[in-house]
């Protein structure tokens, strides 16, 4: 089961609102390579795994992705606070606003709502871990693209943190794959 911790994994405090940035950052909430898909992918895949190392890493990374979901939501929320009707229309946020006001809704930057088709749970350790390695790289590229487009240190700091986490997760999934080849399940680091 899960328990909530009343804190963010890494702080989000954005001085200047910017609904234009919110509209692209929201893709890491409910877009094709976003954190909602990441958490659902790993947490769903756990049940089909034969090895404890893989069950463990999917549980623990899947849990961390829920914390990332909250960080991305916090960014979208802070960037869309206290908007005037003029700011909403001028930034192009009106198309989102009309359906969701300033609520946070899982969708891609282009407006497509989150879809379960973004993820797979194949019940096969090889297929699932390969999907997970690819997913981490795709999420990393999305953070790269956001970092290219955004010019505000308050937003860049948490984005850089999240980008780095994708790289760490990629590394751990690679090691989980390695552990699978060691005696059909065993530590990646056999010298430990």
């Amino acid at each position: 089961m899960w328990k909530y911790e009343k804190k963010l994994q890494y702080p989000v405090n954005i001085k200047n609102k910017n609904p234009k940035y919110a509209q692209i950052i929201i893709s890491q909430y409910g877009g094709p390579d976003g954190e909602l898909g990441a958490s659902m992918r790993y947490l769903s895949q756990r049940y089909g795994q034969p090895f404890d190392e893989v069950k463990g890493i999917l549980t623990d990374v899947g849990t961390e992705e829920l914390a990332h979901l909250e960080m991305v939501s916090a960014m979208v929320h802070q960037l869309t606070r206290d908007l005037t009707p003029e700011e909403i229309v001028k930034s192009g946020f009106d198309k989102y606003f009309v359906d969701h006001t300033a609520g946070v809704y899982p969708q891609a930057a282009a407006g497509l709502p989150w879809r379960a088709e973004y993820i797979q749970s194949k019940g096969d350790v090889l297929a699932d871990l390969h999907e997970d390695l690819a997913a981490e790289q795709k999420a990393r590229v999305t953070y790269d693209n956001l970092i290219r487009l955004i010019d505000d240190p308050d937003i860049l700091e948490p984005l850089k943190f999240l980008r780095q986490r994708e790289i760490t997760h990629y590394q751990r999934f690679g090691e989980a794959q390695q552990s699978m080849w060691n005696d059909n399940g065993g530590a990646a680091d056999k010298t430990a």
């Binding site: 089961m1 756990r46 049940y47 404890d52 190392e53 069950k55 463990g56 549980t59 623990d60």
Partner: protein, 86 residues
């Protein structure tokens, strides 16, 4: 003396009672009866964990608290979603 599984069951029941009081207090934040009950269950939970740990070693449900005596205990044993014969 309570067995390992009896104590675990008791701690889990207290966890649930505490959670139920959390929900109730979210909508009744000044209810003194609920606050007193929460304190009572929290204390009972602490006692149960103490009793568990005196006999069976560290009680943990989170990776962050998992023991590391020579190996990473977190990965050991059945996962919660797996079928267990009684």
């Amino acid at each position: 003396m309570r067995t390992k599984s009896e104590l675990k069951k008791r701690i889990h029941a207290l966890d649930f009672a505490i959670h139920e009081l959390v929900l109730f207090l979210d909508t009744h934040p000044t209810n003194r009866k609920a606050m007193a009950l929460l304190t009572e269950y929290r204390n009972k939970r602490t006692e149960c964990i103490k009793e568990y740990e005196q006999q069976f070693g560290k009680y943990f449900v989170m990776a962050e608290d998992a023991p590391t005596d020579g190996c990473w205990e977190w990965l050991k044993g059945k996962w919660p979603w797996e079928y267990k014969e009684d």
